[in-house]
Amino acid sequence: MPLSTTIFRVDVSETDGDRNYWASQAGLSSDAVTAIRSADIVLVPWESRGAERSTFPVGTTDFFRSLSRLLGEGTVAIAADPAEYVELALHSNETRWPSILVNTVFLSALATVLGDEVEKLISRSGPQASIELTVTVENERGKCVSVSYKGPPNRLVDTLVQETARCFPQGPDAKPSGHSTALNSKRAERAVHK
């Protein structure tokens, strides 16, 4: 059987993995619980990788620092204790970013930051690079919406924006969602600079 590669895949699903879920994980210190409850964005462990400890993809530390620096007013937390934190270096030359839990207020800022990170990735590895990421948006009106993305970096942000739009008010009276407005402003700004 020939080896095959997943080139592009997007999974969108409802999930119960909200802030309470991560803050109530067994063994977490009170400091970690406080950080998870108060942060605007939380980097959460990979659950499906079957590790006993709090497992994050390799490079999470650099991603965390970059996200914290670029986010400005927002705060970022790690859903783990330092003693349990480990990073997993997986197969193949693919970029895997940590899973992100974000509230609807900071989704726009996150999209902008991810756009910057994608540009850095493309300048370093080229447009043919592959990226893997899950973003879970806390939905004010129901279950969280989780978007898992694996594919070319240049389609990541647009896909996230499109698929998380369902977390915002819909209908004729609804205003444009904040995150897409912010993203479009950023693009317009870049277009002017070119």
Binding site: M1, P2, L3, S4, T5, L43, A51, R53, T55, V58, T60, T61, D62, F64, R65, I78, P82, Y85, V86, E87, L88, A89, L90, H91, S92, N93, E94, R124
Partner: protein
């Protein structure tokens, strides 16, 4: 020693000397904590190292040491990445981008498909500069991939657990070719067909002679694949049976490389000699897909 004027010097001794000189300056500047001088020396040292390795790599290809040359190409690729990230001089002045292109082209000529890739759990990491623990709760201020006072910053994994090993198509470490090994005597055991690599190397008088390659697809005559049973996998690597894939077409769809050499080939290369000629088939094998344009 003027590097810029000698970028295309094809002798190993020149680059070894340039490397030794720049290391000496680098060590002196580091000892004196002269950051700017140390960083400049680091850059020049990297230029000398990458070009020296490239000369060595070319010699290895000509000597038939293809796997060793492959590993050298990866070392050059990594060193060039550092060079492009830490631009203490303009990399274009030292033809770094051109060298990157050449390395990528050589790598694309290699027949390697499968690689061994390990999965590790990194339990503890530290900064190579200050040796502080690296995790989201501690920030030493050094950025991985950057050079500080002539010293490269990377993360050292001090505690790890090997989880598994997999076969992959797109590896992190290119040296981990799946079906190249060593026998008990330590010699490389390798049955790959390197005729395309050799084809290009034979037509370059010097390692730094320019060449450009354009990949496309083309039909290749079925006679070249006569040894393959129609029920076996199609040689186009689609995963389907040959009889239900390319056998229904005018030929087998395979990658086709057009190569343009910027200079004439070495005078001692007989025009009738083409690497990869298969006497049993009475025709050119994969090498026939190459259109050399001197």
């Amino acid at each position: 020693m003027a590097l810029r004027e000698n970028l295309n010097n094809p002798t190993q001794a020149f680059w070894d000397e340039a490397h030794a000189e720049s290391v000496k300056v680098l060590r002196e500047a580091q000892a004196a904590q002269e950051a700017e001088r140390a960083n400049s020396a680091w850059f020049l040292n990297s230029v000398a190292e990458t070009r020296g390795r490239y000369v060595r790599c070319f010699a290895q290809i000509l000597a038939g040491k293809y796997y060793e040359a492959w590993c050298e190409l990866e070392r050059i690729e990594i060193a060039l990445r550092w060079l492009m990230t830490n631009r203490f001089y303009d990399p274009a002045t030292f033809a770094a981008q051109e060298l990157q292109l050449q390395v990528t082209q050589w790598q694309s000529l290699y027949p390697y498909k499968l690689f061994v890739s390990p999965a590790f759990l990194h339990k503890r990491k530290e900064c190579s500069i200050c040796h502080k623990v690296i995790n989201p709760w501690s920030d030493c201020g050094h950025e991985v991939g950057r050079v500080y006072v002539g010293e490269e910053c990377f993360h050292i994994v001090t505690e790890a657990e090997l989880l598994e090993v997999s076969l992959v198509l797109n590896p992190v470490q290119k040296y981990s070719v799946a079906n190249v090994g060593r026998d008990k005597a330590g010699d490389v055991v390798d049955e790959h067909d390197y005729s395309v690599v050799r084809f290009v190397a034979d037509r370059l008088a010097s390692p730094f002679d320019g060449w450009r390659m354009h990949w496309t697809y083309a039909y290749h005559p079925h006679e070249l694949f006569a040894q393959i049973n129609p029920d076996d996998g199609c040689p186009c690597e689609s995963g389907r049976a040959y009889k239900s894939c390319c056998l229904t077409r005018p030929g087998v769809i395979r990658p086709h490389a057009q190569i343009e050499f910027e200079k004439d080939p070495p005078a001692n290369l007989p025009s009738s000699v083409l690497a990869g000629y298969n006497a049993e088939l009475g025709s050119m094998s994969l090498i026939s897909t190459l259109d050399a344009k001197p």
